[in-house]
Amino acid sequence: MSKTAAHEITAGFMPLFDSAVLVAAGEMGFAAREGIELKLHRETSWANIRDRIAIGHFDVAHMLGPMPLACSLGLTPLASETIVPFSLGLGGNCVTVSNVVWQGMAAHGAAPDLDPARAGTALGALIRERAAAGREPLRFAVVHPHSGHNYELRYWLAACSIDPDRDVEIVIVPPPFMADALSAGRIDGYCVGEPWNSAAVAAGTGRIVTVKALLWRNSPEKVIGARRSWAEENPDALAALLRALHHSARWCQDPVNRGALAALMAKPAFLGQPEAIQMPALTGRLQLGGGPERSVEAFFLPFDKAANFPWKSHALWFYTQMVRWGQLPHTPQNLAIARDCYRPDLYRSALKPLGVALPGANAKVEGALKTATPVGSAGASLVLGPDGFFDGQIFDPDRIDAYIAAQNRD
């Protein structure tokens, strides 16, 4: 292939299950079919991914959804303009707590049903009880300050009247170390993608209390970040890559391929975790810890529900949360940068020749669809939603000022 490939693309990824669409594009022949030699480089930290994209070691990378925004907005030590032409999937994360915290929550009415409101109310009661007894605040971990995990954990806590900065402590722990940190008592809970929640359940040291797919249904997670200068200089290579990723995502979503995908990701070069522990992410059937099992609809979607479309409303929601938690001031300039970061135009133009269903709009009102809804789209039919937040709030990207003002704590 290397002698005949029209495009050579270097891509960085982190060993997480949601790198699957990128990994399968390279390993299952989808990239090669589009004339791409896709060179995959496994990394050890998001900081390395950010640095290597910025200095040109990588053309594109598996990134946390808010990360290209943070890079473009100058929030990172090594800033660079990074765009998002493709989303790698919806959902996939859980909130896991220690057995001790779970017992405390259960005493305050939590049940093993993953209900975010019920679990959050119980957690809030436990936190107030601990504070009254003069005990240390609970410590939660997320993978990165600019991550969907950080923002959805904070959203959940705040909606349940728990102040994420005052009532708990939030620290950063790399995903593969989460379960160990929990069992060692260094943290009391965490929000992370699979398989690192099921890992704690399998070890008997953690309980899954809620999931991203219930906090905000069909919500964004990882994306493909591309260095803007590379994307502008290599439009054909980028379009070919997006088509390869589209075919790969479809393949990853098909239940027929679950076994093959788990076997691929199990290789040491990729996720390097046993196939069995990847199954919850693929099937949505989660062991919660201590016996109960729950099936979560649309737990992780690598393709369905327009999962790969880089909605500007997703980027803008991340932007509002950066503002909400004091990472960034809300200014017209910052808002403009955030608005230009996700690029549905590039996605649409790359996939147009395939005649597949494409959303007609660039943004949507998040939380407006209460049920699965067929939408107008170019070509074939497309079903979106439900996309609601668990607390019933609506995010209208045309009314950002009001949304930010309503979430302001001061």
Binding site: S45, W46, A47, N48, D51, I55, P77
Partner: protein, 200 residues
């Protein structure tokens, strides 16, 4: 101020490389150098040491945690930024190429940090070169061992002289466009599967 007045923290899980960096810093006149191999309890150490400069290897999976801590933690009195100067792109690229990252406290002058970063980069590169050469020497030795075993198998099973056994391996490798060591490894593996032909 002399070079020695800066406090430098080196975080590297690789003990050999860390000691090479430490030696380089001491040679350059830095007296306040602390080396940490394990990030457990790092916040407390940073609070004690109050480093002006922190050097970290890029293989460290805890880099996201450390970076966040430098920026937000109460353990760090002054905010720590990455690298000497965001505009110094060449230094940044050289550092990432070498596999190292440096963080400095806010307000520290570029000319004070640049020699430290340059020295660290060159020592990281020297270490990689050394590790690569060591790996090459090791695999060379391994290759020689497996070729010797393959020769032994051929001599015993086909009654060849050592010279003839080697010639056969070489000819097969050339015909198949593979390395002699690969052919030898295949032969040793096959012999192992087929029975106790050697070492009885």
């Amino acid at each position: 101020m002399s070079a020695g007045s800066l406090t430098i923290l080196v975080i590297d899980e690789n003990r050999i490389r860390a000691s090479i960096i430490e030696a380089g810093l001491r040679d350059a006149g830095h007296r306040h150098v602390t080396v940490v191999h394990d990030v457990a309890g790092i916040a407390k150490r940073i609070a004690e040491i109050e480093p002006d400069v922190i050097v970290i290897d890029l293989e460290n999976p805890n880099r996201d945690m450390l970076e966040n801590m430098f920026q937000l933690s109460r353990a760090v009195k002054r905010p720590i930024a990455m690298f000497v100067d965001r505009s110094d792109r060449a230094s940044i690229e050289a550092a990432v190429e070498a596999g190292v990252s440096a963080y400095v406290v806010d307000g520290l002058k570029k000319e004070r940090i640049k020699p430290i970063l340059d020295m660290t980069i060159s020592r990281f590169n020297a270490f990689s070169r050394m590790a690569r050469e060591l790996e090459e020497a090791r695999s060379e030795l391994e290759n020689r061992k497996v070729v010797d075993r393959a020769k032994g198998i051929l001599m015993k099973s086909r009654g060849l002289s050592e010279e003839a056994a080697y010639a056969l391996l070489r000819k097969t490798a050339m015909n198949q466009n593979r390395k002699i060591a690969d052919i030898a490894q295949s032969l040793v593996t096959a012999a192992g599967l087929l029975g106790p032909l050697e070492g009885e």
